[in-house]
């Protein structure tokens, strides 16, 4: 992206009332690897801050960056962090143990990235102690989930989102291994009394998951608040609708910096509710809450190019998570019932 495109984007956002109706704008930089372009990010944010002040809209802002962590200790990156620390939400993607991390996160020469980022993880954690990490898992990663979560906890990371990919990569039996891995995590946390630590937040054991749908679950949890823009200034509701993210479908562009947003193309995302999206099997599923889905993955996997065909590739993985979560809470209850 050029600075000129970025400036046009900011000008468009600040002059478009329905986009800035809230009081906080979150500038989310995703790559590739965003820290490769720290000078550009810095220039964009300096411009954005200046324009927000000039606009007199009373806007606050946050800057969100998800990085692989390799350049985290770079002096320019650190200068940027110093300048915008109070506005920054930086996450380093680390997938757990060296073995697990190096399965997916490798340099061009095939060498894993773990050894290059581990010291940066400590630096990051000292600068942003309350920010967690997302652990994305695919078929090959499942046997390492327990060891990886344990490792992340040992690094001091307290908020961990174990997240099976939504794509249809799963094989028969994966859910059995996944369930075992999550139960091992449950045992580790409970046997070591880590669950008393209020800051420890493992989303895989959210109490909310695994219940029938209620009224509050009916709305689309995604896609209604984001404006994504690619390097050429084309708008999407999420970068997962951009060409490079999609496997087989055409990019779903909702406008560009020259013509603005076509609001008609936002309507399906804003109106999307579960009654319209779900088949009866999903709608009446007894463990439906917390079962993740994504409009863009729906679109990419659909038979007719619609966001309204619910992808169910993670159904068995979700059910495994629900069983492990039930085990977790029952085990805590059994352990503490004498206290009550």
């Amino acid at each position: 992206m050029t600075i000129s495109v970025a400036q046009s984007v900011i000008n468009y956002i600040l002059s478009t009332s329905f986009l800035v109706k809230g009081t906080t704008i979150i500038y989310d930089f995703i790559g590739g690897e965003p820290l490769l372009k720290i000078n550009l990010i810095s220039e964009i944010m300096d411009y954005a801050v200046n324009e927000m002040k000039k606009s007199n809209l009373g806007l606050k802002f946050k800057i969100r960056i998800t990085t692989n962590g390799i350049l985290y200790n770079n002096s320019k990156v650190q200068s940027f962090i110093q300048k915008y620390h109070d506005h920054l939400i930086i996450s380093i993607s680390i997938d757990g143990t060296k073995k697990k991390n190096d399965l997916n996160r490798v340099f061009k020469n095939g060498k894993g990235s773990y050894d290059s980022i581990i010291s940066n993880v400590y630096l990051w954690h000292s600068q942003f102690p309350f920010i967690g990490t997302r652990m994305t898992i695919s078929h090959d990663d499942i046997p390492f989930v327990y060891e990886s979560v344990k490792h992340l906890i040992s690094l001091g990371i307290k908020k961990i989102d174990v997240n099976p990919v939504l794509e249809n990569v799963w094989q028969e039996g994966d859910e059995v291994i996944y369930e075992e891995q999550l139960m091992n995590i449950a045992d580790y946390i409970i046997d070591n009394d880590l669950y008393f630590d209020k800051e420890l937040d493992l989303t895989c054991f959210d109490e909310y998951i695994g219940k029938p749908l209620g009224k509050k679950d009916m709305i689309n949890p995604c896609g209604s608040m984001f404006l994504s823009v690619d390097s050429l200034g084309r708008f999407y509701t999420c970068m997962r609708f951009a060409k490079y993210s999609l496997r087989s479908k055409k990019p779903r562009i909702i406008g560009d910096i020259h013509n603005g947003i076509d609001k008609n193309k936002l309507r399906p995302l804003y109106a999307l509710d579960l009654q319209s999206l779900y088949t009866s099997e999903c709608f009446f599923c007894e463990v439906a809450t917390g079962c993740k889905w994504c409009p863009a993955e729906n679109y990419d996997s659909s038979s007719t190019g619609t966001i309204y065909e619910r992808s169910v590739a993670t159904c068995n993985m979700h059910k495994a998570r629900v069983r492990a979560k039930n085990y977790y809470w029952n085990k805590i209850y059994q352990k503490n019932k004498w206290i009550e």
């Binding site: 009224k215 008609n264 399906p268 509710d273 038979s303 007719t304 619609t306």
Partner: protein, 320 residues
């Protein structure tokens, strides 16, 4: 549940809806496909609507068509007088031949128009309404409506409404889709493409509606050999339409093709389609109230409620 089969007899068959037919070259459906299409309709209990080209069909086609109960949709330019008398729906592609046309009761007429032409020429509809039983006005550039156009459309509906009121008071009861449909309905009554009706094209394949064929021949939903195969068919139903199922503009075409064209989803209408439908709904409300001032009228119908919005999408927070 599918109830109607629309059979396009030729690539140049008249377009009777929001889309325009881009085909200029004749391609008559094969006699085999026609025969099999009729057979399919018989086996699936479907009522057939034949859509004609301008030219005279071969005798063997006419014979085959007459072998089954059906409706005929023809162009106002169709020249076969005998067949023309048999027609149920006559379609005007534009206003060029409307003024000199000899309208008669017993048929339904469709006038396709751009918004600009409608705003310029709607006064001529007043005279036609005195002659016909039913008139459908179909706007072909719905997606181009601006806020100014909505105001103009409101004025057009108001004037036509006054004319219809006069005719009803005088004992006539012409139907104009834009104004009288809503006051006679008690539930959604939309186009039904992909749900209650499907289209058989001259290539022997099924389509959700003629517009899907005109736009992309590869967009078929089955054929006569393998049968109908509509993927995500639930999305054509009202219960899977997140905006429409909260709406009471029951006369709205809810055009699936326009939906996909403007919002990329068959189950989601554009702002323009919603506002147009609500201007019609509100004008119908006024018309119903006005006619009722003259005496009992449609006593079985409830009043149409007064509402404070033109696009139900704007009220989505109330749905939760």
């Amino acid at each position: 549940m599918v109830q109607y089969l629309v059979i396009l007899l030729d690539d140049t068959s008249v377009s009777y809806c929001h889309c325009n037919n881009p085909y200029k070259e004749h391609r008559l459906i094969s006699l085999d496909d026609l025969r099999n299409g009729i057979l399919y309709a018989m086996k699936e209990n479907l009522m057939i609507q034949f859509v004609y080209p301008d030219y005279d069909l071969p005798e063997e086609y006419k014979e085959k068509i007459e072998s089954i109960d059906h409706h005929n949709i023809v162009s106002s330019l169709y020249f076969d007088k005998l067949m023309f008398e048999e027609s149920d729906v006559v379609v005007f592609q534009d206003w060029s031949s409307v003024s000199n046309y000899d309208f008669e009761p017993g048929k339904a007429y469709v006038i396709k128009t751009t918004k600009t032409d409608l705003f310029d020429r709607y006064c001529s509809l007043k005279e036609i309404l005195g002659k016909v039983d039913r008139l459908n006005v179909v706007i072909t550039d719905v997606e181009k409506f601006t806020d100014g156009d909505f105001e103009s459309y409101k004025k057009v509906l108001s004037e036509l409404s006054a004319e219809i009121e006069k005719l009803y008071v005088a004992g006539k009861s012409p139907q104009l889709n834009l104004l009288t449909d809503r006051m006679m309905l008690s539930e959604m009554n939309n186009c039904g493409a992909g749900e209650t009706n499907i289209t058989l094209a001259p290539n022997g394949k099924f389509y959700v509606c003629p517009a899907f064929y005109y736009e992309n021949e590869a967009d078929s939903v089955g054929d006569l050999d393998k049968g109908l195969d509509i993927k995500n068919k639930q999305l054509y139903r009202l219960d899977h339409a997140p905006i429409c199922r909260h709406c009471d503009a029951w006369q709205c075409k809810r055009c699936i093709w326009l939906n996909r064209k403007t919002t990329l989803e068959v189950n989601t209408p554009s702002h323009e389609q919603c506002v147009i439908a609500h201007l019609e709904r509100n004008a119908s409300r006024e018309l119903l109230n006005s006619i009722r001032k003259h005496g009992t009228f449609l006593p079985e119908q409830d009043e149409i409620e007064k509402i404070d919005y033109l696009d139900p999408f704007d009220k989505r927070a109330d749905w939760q």
